[in-house]
């Protein structure tokens, strides 16, 4: 009697525990590091929560997201890789992917992976797709782009007698608009804000440079392109011309605050700012493509990508779970685009609902001539060279000729 009771107790206990054991076995939790904060952060958090509440349980996948702010994101990601503690899934800028891949820190997305996920190259903006490949292997799946574009202040446009619904699209149209804004005669209004320091100065230089010469480097990637000096000079004549002409400030400071106070006419910026600008009460602004100054249209962009770092937490189950989340994210990327991004996939771009996102649609219209940085591990060092030399130029410590020559020499020395 006692034995049968004990047996019954064990069976009951097993029956009670079984569902949890099965659930624990089937459900895979992946760690996901995201650097997005502010409006971006709210968007991705909402998407991850949505996944964990809807599709995740069906797939048996839970995403455990950790937000690591941009300032320290790559430092922490690098340390986590070095200590074999990297997350299962992470975000990386397109220009960072080659360096991480070159260090052997990323898991390759194999052809089988992509077929399983039904991910096809044709579904993506080609420039973004190509940036995820390094030495014949794919290490990144693009999720968005954030090209350079302009924002213009409609109140200032109206004050200047300009049509507030029409953005300048060429260098000539931009100059007409700037002259009109300058003619208002208000010393507190800055006609245009361009970036003269930091990474943004470099991005604006790339946009203009690539309108005159599509390649920064020569085909062998051993130095600057043959046409570098001429194209770089033309690009820098545009920006310094805006400063020397009294249209732009050599040190603009916090442009968003001035823009919100209707004290800036036009700003060279990127689409990621659309959400934060939209949240400013009373600010009426429009979005335009990056104006064409050179013979060919070009807008420099970077993009965010999913990458799978190598680490002790990776195994086939976790890789498969990450792939399922990536696939779900791609299917639901409209929400991400709403946060102020150019989506990477045509499935979102061609969705009728996307046209309602005016600013994003305008920025996306540049997709045929988006230009990304060269796919080489040394790109971060090249960015530093260009950034520092531009700061010297805009700070009045160097001429255009010296700046261009020094950039060329330093890049040639780095890659040669």
């Amino acid at each position: 009697m006692f034995k049968s009771k004990k047996f019954l107790f064990i069976v009951l206990a097993m029956v009670l525990v079984m569902p949890f054991a099965v659930s624990a076995q089937d459900n895979v939790t992946i760690s996901f590091w995201s650097p997005f904060t502010g409006p971006d952060g709210q968007t991705i958090e909402a998407m991850v929560n949505d996944f964990n509440e809807t599709a995740g349980p069906e797939m048996g996948v839970t995403v455990d997201m950790l937000i690591v702010p941009w300032d320290e994101y790559y430092t922490k990601l690098t340390v986590s890789m070095a200590s074999n503690q990297a997350p299962n899934l992470a975000i990386a800028h397109s220009h960072r992917v080659p360096a991480f891949a070159d260090e052997g820190t990323l898991i390759e997305f194999t052809r089988d992976n992509l077929e399983t996920l039904n991910i096809n190259e044709e579904d993506f903006i080609s420039a973004l797709w190509n940036a995820g490949e390094y030495e014949g292997a794919r290490y990144a799946i693009p999720i968005d782009a954030f090209p350079r574009n302009i924002f213009y202040n409609k109140a200032v446009f109206e004050q200047a007698g300009l049509d507030p619904e029409v953005a300048p699209t060429t260098g000539e149209e931009l100059m007409v608009a700037l002259d009109a804004i300058q003619a208002i005669g208000d010393e507190e209004i800055v006609p245009i804000v361009i970036s003269t320091s930091g990474s943004w100065a470099g991005r604006e230089f790339y946009s203009l440079y690539m309108q005159y010469e599509p390649n920064l480097l020569n085909p062998e990637m051993t130095g600057v392109s043959d046409n570098f000096e001429e194209a770089a000079t033309q690009a820098l004549e545009v920006t310094t011309g805006l400063i020397d002409g009294g249209y732009a400030l050599a040190a603009p400071g916090d442009w968003a605050a001035l823009f919100a106070q209707n004290k800036v006419g036009i700003v060279f910026a990127q689409i990621t700012h659309v959400l934060s600008l939209s949240q400013i009460e009373g600010l009426e602004f429009g979005t335009g493509v990056f104006p064409q100054f050179g013979p060919e249209p070009a807008s420099f962009t970077l993009g965010h990508n999913f990458v799978m770092p190598i680490g002790s937490g990776q195994d086939p189950d976790h890789i498969s779970a990450s792939l399922q989340f990536i696939s779900w994210f791609g299917d639901n990327a409209m929400a991400w685009a709403e946060g102020g991004k150019v989506p990477a996939t045509f499935s979102v771009i061609n969705d009728p609902a996307f046209t309602d996102l005016t600013a994003q649609s305008i920025s996306t219209s540049q997709m045929d001539y988006l230009v990304l940085p060269p796919i080489i591990p040394e790109q971060s060092e090249i960015d530093t060279i260009i950034q520092e030399n531009l700061e010297a130029l805009y700070g009045g410590q160097s001429s255009i000729e010296d700046t261009v020559n020094r950039i060329a020499d330093e890049i040639n020395s780095l890659l040669g």
Binding site: T75, M81, G104, G253, D254, E378, E388, E391
Partner: protein, 285 residues
């Protein structure tokens, strides 16, 4: 036997932490500096290759120059300001505790938080500092974007944030000076300046040495303020050794070169500390 072992038992917790978190990283850094070392570990033994690369890199010498410039802009003022404030705070005036807390407060504010506030304060268009200058008809300055200003501003910020710690050390030193000496000086008709230079400064000599050594070490290790305020710019004019090490390691993934920079930094700090002990520490008072 027990009594001989007892001091070592007491030392053990410290020694464990010292070996784990100081000695091992230093030795490991030295070892790494002889390799081409990437994120995932060593790739190739280079011998002194990283050091040769470093010493033949023009940028390294500019960075070294920036570090010494920062040291010059930071160390003498922080010692003088801290000592001056400590002497003022040493008296028995009402609310002295509040003043002491106010001067120590910057020490406990996170670098990121204070950097954001200072960036707003110094913004060329909307910053309070330029607004004040504007009242006097002075054109707005681009404090953090101009080669001449950027390093000076960073050094002022570090002086502001670190003087609280030095004030505490000076106050401890002042507490140790016997009141009888001051009373004797007063009886002899010494004025406050003579008392300060003839009594306070000489008797504070060991404390001044300590603060000088700590400030020099701190000046060569400055990173957070530069990372947050200038990012090493403009034109690399605020890129100091610690920031250069970070760039080499975490931007370029050249951890071998970064380790070599660390070894060079350690060597410079050791030499400067020895020099200071030799010239400031040997005279008895």
């Amino acid at each position: 036997m027990r009594s001989k072992l007892f001091p070592y038992i007491l030392l053990t917790p410290y020694l464990i932490f010292f070996l784990l978190f100081l000695a091992y990283p230093i030795l490991r850094g030295g070892y790494m500096s002889f390799f081409d070392w990437g994120i995932m570990g060593p790739k190739e033994y280079l011998g002194l290759g990283n050091y040769v690369d470093l010493f033949t890199d023009d940028r390294f010498w500019r960075v070294l120059g920036n570090s010494f410039l920062f040291m010059l802009l930071y160390v003498p003022p922080v010692i003088l300001v801290s000592m001056f404030l400590a002497v003022l705070l040493h008296g028995f005036i009402p609310g002295i505790g509040i003043f002491r807390s106010i001067f120590f407060l910057p020490m406990v504010i996170n670098v990121s938080v204070s950097a954001i506030a200072i960036k707003w304060l110094m913004d060329p268009q909307i910053g309070l500092l330029n607004r004040i200058l504007d009242i006097f008809g002075i054109a707005p300055q681009t404090w953090l974007n101009q080669q001449g200003w950027a390093m000076l501003v960073v050094s002022l910020v570090v002086i502001w944030s670190s003087s609280g710690f030095n004030i505490i050390i000076f106050l401890a030193g002042l507490e140790n000076i016997s009141k009888e000496i001051y009373e004797a000086a007063e009886v002899d008709g010494s004025n406050p300046w003579t008392t300060f230079f003839r009594i306070t400064v000489p008797l504070l000599r060991p404390v001044i040495l300590l603060v000088t050594v700590l400030s020099v070490i701190g000046s060569l290790q400055v990173f957070g303020e530069i990372f947050m305020l200038t990012g090493g710019g403009p034109f690399g004019s605020t890129t100091v050794l610690a920031y250069y090490l970070y760039e080499k390691g975490f931007n370029n993934f050249d951890f071998g070169v970064a380790a070599a920079v660390g070894v060079v930094m350690t060597g410079i700090i050791a030499i400067l500390t020895l020099i200071q002990f030799r010239f400031l520490g040997e005279r008895e008072v």
